[in-house]
């Protein structure tokens, strides 16, 4: 029990590490996912192919393999960055494929007639997209994007196993200090529960505010 009170700073570092990793990787995943989704619905064929290949490859890559390739492989390539940056890169790219699919299905839920009506009112492509289609699409993708980001927070545990400072990684330090391993894991589990519950609470609020009941 006192494993938490005695080692509050170790747990705190791990907890903050996970939060930080999740936040940066989420930002990267959202940006890349948005980019890839716009590639996948673009009128130009080569953009669509690029987006489709990106999604198909990353969705079917085990995340451990991706971490392995990025954290241990890229340095051989002559690219040396802090492990944390590599971890954000791997997590963000992996999750972007799932964000992309969520956004794309959101765009597809907007009825065709909405765009047609916008154009018949004389709106340009940019106006149609930003005023009519995207606001509706964003509203319907709040729940799937939320669950994708929760999955990201959970997946960030893998970074700890690749020796990035992170919540799961704290078990190594504490078990070396001889603390009861079961309690150690219980507090780690609680830490993850707090993070995932916080994300789901945020997305519940967002959905109440902006979500649409179709």
């Amino acid at each position: 029990m006192d494993v938490l009170t005695d080692n509050f700073s170790t747990y705190g570092d791990g907890f903050l590490g996970t939060v930080e990793l999740t936040a940066y990787a989420s930002a990267l995943a959202l940006v890349l996912g948005f980019l890839m989704a716009s590639f996948r619905v673009a009128p130009v064929g080569s953009f669509r192919v690029f987006g489709a290949v990106w999604v198909a490859v990353l969705r079917n890559t085990p995340l451990t393999l991706l971490f392995f390739a990025v954290l241990l492989g890229l340095p051989r390539f002559g690219l040396v960055l802090p492990f944390k940056v590599f971890a954000v890169l791997a997590l963000g790219c992996y999750t972007s494929a799932f964000i992309c699919e969520a956004l794309r299905s959101g765009i597809n839920t907007v009825p065709k007639g909405q765009g047609e009506a916008a154009r018949s009112l004389g709106m340009t492509f940019g106006q149609t997209l930003s005023v009519v289609v995207l606001p509706q699409a964003f509203r319907s993708v709040i729940p799937p994007v939320g669950s994708t980001l929760i999955a990201l927070a959970k997946n960030s545990a893998i970074a700890g196993a690749f020796s990035v400072t992170e919540l799961l990684g704290t078990y190594k330090t504490l078990s070396e200090l001889g603390y009861n391993i079961v309690w150690t894991f219980l507090w780690i589990a609680l830490g993850y529960l707090i993070i995932t519950l916080a994300i789901s609470a945020v997305f519940n609020i967002l959905e109440k505010r902006w979500g649409v009941a179709r």
Binding site: K112, A157, Y192
Partner: protein, 296 residues
């Protein structure tokens, strides 16, 4: 190709000849950029000597090929065991969540919600480190707890999505609850949920690579052994280039299978209402035969 995508979205009109020419130009330009990017990566690979002979020789040796094959075999073994056990646990937990007894329902809900919220790796490490279990059982246990909980939700929503009339009709015929479940609801639910179940198995297959982190001798572990060999000048990138396509290929095959099943089901008469011809004297029972065109 351009027109089909244009028809499917609300974003833009079907392009006219002028726009099509413009899109063609964009296409050529972006293809050039992508090809340039690939060429740059290839240049970097050559520049850092990734294609030298020493780095690729290990794959010629029988011992190393066997090492890789054994790793692949271990990956598939862990996947097979975890898949079977997760399906069983999923069925058990779904039964619990659909139970009429409140205590059983709460207990099952608690288990499902807890294991869905935990990172798989934390569970695997817990079993491996705290309970001091061998790598394979630890990996399988972690995968089973997580995927079993997710599958339980899949099964439950599947059973709940079967039309209420089915259940009511079965009860009206005098079936007991177990009979209603096993003869009426579950067969229909499984058929509807099959694509979702296979997609979850893809997740399980991908997560077997977590075994690498607890020193289970699976495919990635075999790759790591080869990659850290100094005799071959640390062939890290070659190993990644050999292993990734195999991993991605396996998962894609399974994903594609899920897609194929869902596509096939959309036109399967078993998941859609069959047009039943009106009964005539002398015909067989309606339902099995495809509808016939009315006589002229």
């Amino acid at each position: 190709m351009t027109t089909t995508a244009a028809e499917a979205t609300a974003l833009y009109d079907i392009p006219g000849p002028k726009t099509r020419r413009r899109h063609f130009l964009y296409g050529v330009l972006s293809t050039a950029v992508i090809v340039g990017l690939v060429a740059w990566i290839l240049y970097l690979l050559f520049d850092t000597d990734q294609f030298t002979r020493t780095k690729w020789t290990p794959f010629e040796y029988k011992g190393i090929q066997e090492l890789l094959l054994r790793g692949l075999g271990n990956t598939l073994k862990a996947f097979a065991i975890a898949a079977v056990l997760s399906l069983a646990l999923g069925a058990l937990l779904a039964t619990g969540r659909l139970s009429e007894h409140r205590v059983v329902r709460w207990l099952a809900t608690l288990v499902v919600e807890f294991f869905r919220a935990m990172p798989v790796l934390v569970m695997i490490f817990f079993v491996f480190v705290a309970l001091k279990v061998q790598p394979l059982p630890a990996l399988v246990a972690g995968l089973t707890l997580y995927n079993g909980s997710v599958l339980a939700e899949v099964f439950r929503s599947g059973v709940n999505s079967v039309e209420r009339g089915q259940r009511e009709a079965a009860y009206a015929l005098g079936m007991r609850k177990t009979q209603v479940m096993s003869y009426v609801l579950v067969p229909q639910a499984v058929r509807a949920m099959l694509p979702a179940i296979i997609s979850q198995l893809v997740v399980a297959l991908k997560d077997t690579s977590l075994g690498y982190l607890i020193t289970y001798e699976e495919f990635l572990h075999a790759g790591k052994l080869i990659a850290s060999n100094l005799d071959y000048d640390l062939p890290f990138i070659p190993v990644v280039m050999v292993i990734s396509p195999i991993y991605i290929g396996m998962c894609m095959l399974l994903s594609w299978f899920a897609y194929w099943v869902s596509k096939r089901q959309r036109r399967s008469p078993k998941t859609e209402a069959v047009d039943v011809a009106p009964a005539e004297p002398g015909t067989l029972l309606p339902g099995g035969v495809p509808p016939r065109a009315p006589a002229p």
